[in-house]
Subunit: 145 residues, 2 copies
């Protein structure tokens, strides 16, 4: 198979471009509602609210380094969106909970997050989405071999 080799023709360029455009849109809308929260922080808030998770679990789920996770969580605690305590059954692990402020923020954020997704996926068909997911998954597998 012949594949383009100039940087700007590669599919990776398109992928980067798209994800950056989506992140930009999301950040704008989120900041518009709550100025001191980022896209990832909103996602983390949502994850912790849905299910009790450790930092390590969150990091694995959203492809972040554990060190970054420590710092992001630290900031979210400092801004009072999260409450962090130690797990008494395993004193290495921390227990993360959304604070009242965090829950309130989340109530505002969820419709915004959903709206962002709708906006980004406007005019796409179910086939488009499934296709996209399928092809990306192939690439993902290739990269991990």
């Amino acid at each position: 198979m012949k594949i383009s080799h100039t940087p700007f023709d590669t599919i990776f360029y398109s992928i980067e471009e798209t994800i950056k455009a989506y992140r930009k849109l999301s950040l704008k809308e989120i900041k518009n509602a709550i100025s001191d929260i980022t896209v990832d922080q909103a996602l983390i808030l949502q994850m912790i609210n849905d299910k009790q998770l450790t930092q390590t679990e969150i990091a694995d789920l959203i492809f972040k380094d554990y060190a970054s996770m420590t710092r992001i969580i630290g900031l979210m605690v400092k801004k009072n969106y999260l409450i962090k305590t130690t797990n008494e059954n395993d004193r290495r692990a921390s227990v993360l909970k959304t604070s009242p402020k965090g829950e309130l923020a989340l109530k505002q954020l969820i419709p915004i997050i959903n709206q962002n997704r709708e906006t980004a996926l406007n005019n796409l068909t179910i086939e488009d989405i499934n296709n996209l997911k399928h092809i990306l998954n192939k690439i993902n597998q290739n990269c991990k071999k």
Copy 2:
């Protein structure tokens, strides 16, 4: 259209996952050859070698902030991969050139970069790629409206 709303079912999750996997693969292979160069730095080296570009132009092409570009270029100059001078026709602008060390590095890097792309796209058809590009482009447009 009904679209999934749980974070891990969304297509954006797949996109992030894929681009991170690809970046990880690329970085590993690049570092293996030249330990002090990153994926973006390799790309920048390639761009500058192909065509004379200003920092601003490079930043726009690879979706980077101008401030980041100043710092990345600064490091590449410091590591002696690039030579930076001022453009005498427009003293605001800088002229960037690959140094001999940069050119040598690039010679090593180009086959690696190409190989990474081949690896990542293994078993994909031309249709897959075109499809992917087309769908991503739709999302990209939606995000920019």
